[in-house]
Symmetry: C2
Subunit: 365 residues, 2 copies
C-alpha cells in the first residue's frame, strides 16, 4: 500500500492538487520546489495508507495558513513548517509517527511532504478537507470529534504560539487567523494531533493518491492528444469521489477580487462560448458556488474548478482574469464529506450561502 514519491510524481501531484484546490489553497508550485529541494538533499517522501498506521501512533496535521495572495509574496524556505511540527511535538512531549495533510488541494498538498521529508516520517494518504477550504475548523477531523488543540503556529522568524481552545475549533480558527494576520498574512501550523485510530475514523482516505491520479491523467491526456476533460471524468469513477464533469465552458468577462478579513474573496463571471448563458462563481479563497443564469449547478462542499479550455490546467482564484477561456469542472465529494455533521461544518451555510446543498451528480436533473 505504501509507496515513495518520485520527483516526477511531484509535478503530477501539483497539477492534481491545484485541481482539488478548487481555485484556492495557493499555487502548489512553491511547495513543489521545496519538496524537490528536500529530495535533492537526500530526503525521502514515503506515503502510507491510513490503514498502515498503528492505532496508538501519533499523527499531526501540517499546513500553511493565510491568504494565497500573501503566500505568493512571502515565500517560505521549507523549514518553517518543520519548526511548527517540532514546536507542537515539544509541547506534547512526543514526536509524531506520521504527518497528515490538512487539505489535499493547493499549496497545502505539498507542505506536509516537506515536513515528512525533513522530519523523516511518512505522510498519510488522506486529509481533513478532501479539497481546499478557507478555515481550519472545516476539517473532517473536527467534524468527527477531534480537537484542533493544541495547535502550533510559527512565523518566518521562528516566533511561535501554542494555542489551546479545548474542543472549540471555531475559536481556534479565530485565534490562529488573528495571529496569522499579525504574522504578516501567512504562517505555518501543526494541528489536530491524533492517534492512528482517530485518523482511520476521521480522515478522508486516499486523497494524496487521488491528486496524483488526476494530475497524471491530465498529463497523459496531453501527451496522447486525448480529451483531458473526458479523461478526468473517466479517472474519477474508480475513486472515492466517483463523479465529475464539465459544468460550463466560456470566457471570463468580469472578476471582482479583494482581501477581506485575511481571505481572497470575490466573484467571477463567465460567458458561454455561444454567448447564450452566463455562469457566476463566488469564491472565498476557494470557489463556493456556481450559478448559470441564476440557477445553481454546483455548490460547496462539492468541488468547482476552472480549467484552461485548451490545456485543462487548473486556474487559481488569484489567476482568474478577463478574457481567459475556461471550462468549469465539478467533482462530487465522498460520503464522509456529505453527512449532516460535515455539511454543518463546511456546507453552504458555513459560507453564508442560503442555497441548500444538493449533490453535484443529481443537481438540476
Amino acid at each position: 500500500m505504501g509507496y515513495e514519491l518520485s520527483v516526477a510524481d511531484l509535478r503530477d501531484l501539483a497539477t492534481g492538487a491545484a485541481l482539488l484546490g478548487t481555485g484556492g489553497g495557493g499555487d502548489p508550485l512553491i511547495g513543489r520546489l521545496l519538496v524537490e529541494q528536500a529530495m535533492a538533499d537526500g530526503c525521502r517522501v514515503r506515503v502510507i495508507a491510513p490503514d498502515e498506521l498503528d492505532d496508538d501512533q501519533l499523527v499531526i496535521s501540517s499546513a500553511m495558513m493565510g491568504a494565497p495572495t500573501v503566500v505568493l509574496e512571502k515565500i517560505p524556505n521549507g523549514y518553517e513548517a518543520v519548526q511548527s511540527l517540532q514546536r507542537l511535538e515539544s509541547h506534547l512531549g512526543r514526536t509524531a509517527d506520521a504527518v497528515i495533510p490538512m487539505e489535499c488541494g493547493g499549496l497545502n498538498s505539498m507542505v506536509p511532504l516537506i515536513v515528512a521529508a525533513r522530519a523523516d516520517v511518512p505522510v498519510v494518504d488522506g486529509d481533513g478537507m478532501g479539497r481546499a477550504f478557507p478555515e481550519l475548523q472545516m476539517e473532517t477531523f473536527g467534524v468527527y470529534g477531534i480537537s484542533a488543540s493544541p495547535l502550533a503556529i510559527t512565523d518566518e522568524h521562528g516566533y511561535s504560539a501554542i494555542i489551546d481552545t479545548d474542543a472549540d475549533n471555531h475559536r481556534m480558527e479565530w485565534f490562529a487567523r488573528g495571529l496569522t494576520i499579525r504574522m504578516g498574512g501567512s504562517a505555518h501550523i501543526a494541528e489536530y494531533p491524533m492517534t492512528g485510530a482517530e485518523v482511520k475514523r476521521t480522515a478522508i482516505a486516499g486523497t494524496l493518491s487521488l491528486a496524483l491520479l488526476l494530475g497524471r491523467t491530465l498529463r497523459e491526456a496531453k501527451e496522447n492528444h486525448t480529451d483531458p476533460f473526458q479523461a478526468l471524468t473517466d479517472a474519477l469513477v474508480d475513486t472515492p469521489y466517483r463523479y465529475g464533469r464539465v459544468l460550463f465552458g466560456g470566457k471570463v468577462v468580469d472578476v471582482q477580487r479583494g482581501i477581506i478579513d485575511g481571505f481572497t474573496a470575490g466573484r467571477a463571471l463567465i460567458e458561454s462560448f455561444d454567448r447564450s448563458q452566463t455562469m457566476e462563481i463566488e469564491f472565498r479563497n476557494e470557489n463556493m458556488i456556481a450559478r448559470v443564469d441564476g440557477r445553481v449547478v454546483a455548490i460547496v462542499p462539492d468541488l468547482i474548478t476552472l480549467l484552461d479550455a485548451d490545456t485543462a490546467m487548473p486556474i487559481t482564484t488569484d489567476a482568474v482574469r478577463y478574457g481567459l477561456r475556461v471550462r468549469v469542472f465539478g467533482i462530487a465529494t465522498p460520503d464522509i464529506m456529505r453527512t449532516p455533521a460535515a455539511l454543518d461544518t463546511f456546507g453552504p451555510a458555513a459560507f453564508g450561502l442560503t442555497e441548500p446543498w444538493q449533490p453535484l451528480e443529481t443537481i438540476g436533473r
Copy 2:
C-alpha cells in the same frame, strides 16, 4: 521586610494604584473586590521585598491585558489570572515561587494579588513599569534584558495560548495584543518568567508599598482635614520617586476619546480656575504629556494624574468628563526608569511624541 496585606490595606492600595495608573490601567475597584473575595475564602496576600527572593527562585509577572474601557464591561471572576499562571507553569514544567506585578498602577496592581492569594505564593513588592503603561514591552524587565517569552494568555473560557518571540518583546506585544482583541478586548497574561536574581536587577522595587503609602496618605489627609496635595508631595520625598507636585488646577472643558487599535486614546482640555491658562493632556490608556498653553510641563515616563480638586481622588481616563474640577499631579520617576535604555522603551518617542523627555522636577525651571 515582608508583610501581609489586610482588607483595609486594599482600599488604600487601590487609591494609590489609581494615582500611579496616571489615568489608565483600569479602575482597581474590580480587582480589589476579587482580592477581598480571596481573603474571605481564607487566602492570604504576603508581600516580600525583591531582596527576600533567593537568586534561583522562579518569579512570574501577572496581569490583565486590554483596554480599560473593555475591562469595565467584561468583569473577570478572579480565576482567569490564576489559570494563566498555571498554563505558564505547566509549559515551564515548574511552579512559580512568587508573582510580581507587571505594573503598579490601575487594575493590574490588584491582579497579581488575586493570583498570589489563590496560588498561595508571595507577591513581590515591585513591578516592571513603575506606573501603568499601555504595552507590555514597556517594562524594565525587558529594558534590562529579560524576555517576555514564553507568555501565557487566557480568556474567560479558559482558552489559552503560549507565545514565544525569543528576545523580541515588541513582537510579543504585537501578537498578544492581537489575541487580546480576538479574546474580546481583554485577557489575562503570565509573562517575563525570571529568576530572583533577575528580579533584583530589573524590577522597580517598592512600588506596591508606594501605592499603599500614597493611598494611605490621601485617606489620612481626608480624615484629618489637611491638604491632600501637600500631603502627597511630603509623602513622596522619602520614596524612590522622591518628587511630586500639583502641576495645574482647573475645570475639564473638552474630552476626545476613542478606542484605537485596542487602546483608549484621546486628549482632555482643562481650563485654569481663573480661566487664564489651558492645559492639554494627551492619553493613550495613560496620560502621556501635559502642556500648558503649548508649553510642556510633564512628559512620559514621569507620571501625570488627574485628581478631583476637592477629594483628591484619582480620575481615570475613562471617567474624565466635561465640568470636572481637577488638580493635575505630577510625580518624578526613579532612576531605573530614566536610563537611555529605559527612555528608548517607554520615553516620549515610544508614544509618537516629538518632545524630548525632561525631568519633571526641573522642567520649565
